[in-house]
Symmetry: C2
Subunit: 212 residues, 2 copies
């Protein structure tokens, strides 16, 4: 067993530390964050920090990095209050990763990465046409984290678009049917195969096994 | 394309809505949260809401549900300030899922689910002996979310234990080598296979492909 302590981390080479600490939580979601500025210029960014906050109301969180780096997405969300999350799938991996390049504010990552902004139902933020699962959110709360200057954005799900094949009769999603990938660390994309599905666990009872 | 709006969600059957909204973010991490109370009684809970907050200092977030439900883990973290995260792997899926049963405070999920508390390096919270990747954290901040009463706990990574086979020379983790699984929604566990690894993206340059 390897052992690192908090005293070791500052001594690690920077890229090694970034790779290590970005990987230790386990698999992550890979989503494209679609926004636009007050004049309608679209922006797209790859994010792996989306977290479920609650189902009623339907709330999702995402982390934004400290304001020391240019944060076009964050500025756009604050300006318009609306944003989209779009699942990365196997057909758009390279284009999705390319959105993480640090381009100038006036350049749209959509155009630079050959992805297509799509507008539905008068929503004030662009979706990614190539994504199969698209979520439209409205900003409801911002929580700055003192410890490192990141910000948790809390969004209310206003719209959800998904392919019929990705929705099971009980409301659960079949993510492989949507081509959705998982991400580890900063750079590695995975496809996933289900190995077990379990029902609601009750004390003293065997955990029920469900079909996929 | 199926389309749900915010107005539809309250009308959905409750379990359908839970399944749907818990699944829309994409793949999630599956970790066991180890805690103990002030008198040393251990507790274990499955969580899928861990999020990377920063690498320097090494900070991880996790969401806690509103205080309307019993929250033994949260009470323990507040009492001791220390907790552990332990990757769920293919060998402990059923036991890990069973920790989500709602047992009485005096019952240890370790014992109820046949998992073993392990203490290393004088750390004041139990790890899961059966987990291959173990993280020891100290609580540094709590952020209550007004919109639904959940709480974001910010923890500083104090210890990290992992098997040599799971660490690549550049610091990135080989999660399949650790047996680590991904989770979707509330109940489906996945193994994952890498399909692409890309280097740092630079504007106007092709995205470099890296070996796994």
């Amino acid at each position: 067993m390897l052992h690192f302590t908090a005293a070791d981390f500052p001594e690690l080479e920077k890229v090694f530390r970034l790779n290590l600490i970005n990987g230790i939580t386990g698999f992550k979601s890979a989503n494209l964050l679609g926004t636009q500025d007050a004049t309608g210029h679209p922006n797209l960014a790859l994010i792996s920090s989306v977290v479920h906050l609650g189902s009623d109301p339907a709330l999702l969180g995402l982390m934004m990095r400290p304001p020391t780096a240019p944060r076009h997405s964050y500025d756009n969300i604050r300006a318009t209050r609306y944003y989209t999350l779009n699942h990365v799938h196997t057909g758009i991996l390279r284009a999705a990763h390319a959105t993480s390049a640090n381009v100038a504010r006036e350049i749209s990552e959509f155009a630079a990465c050959a992805l297509t902004p799509q507008y539905h139902d008068n929503f004030a933020a662009p979706y990614v046409r190539e994504s199969h699962v698209q979520i439209g959110l409205e900003l409801v709360e911002e929580l700055p984290i003192q410890a490192n200057g990141t910000v948790l954005l809390v969004g209310h799900v206003r719209h959800l678009y998904l392919p019929p094949a990705a929705l099971r009769p009980d409301g659960s999603l079949n993510l492989p049917a949507a081509g959705t990938v998982a991400l580890s660390g900063l750079d590695t994309y995975y496809t996933a195969e289900p190995v077990a599905r379990y029902g609601y666990a009750r004390p003293g009872e065997p955990v029920p096994e469900l079909p996929f």
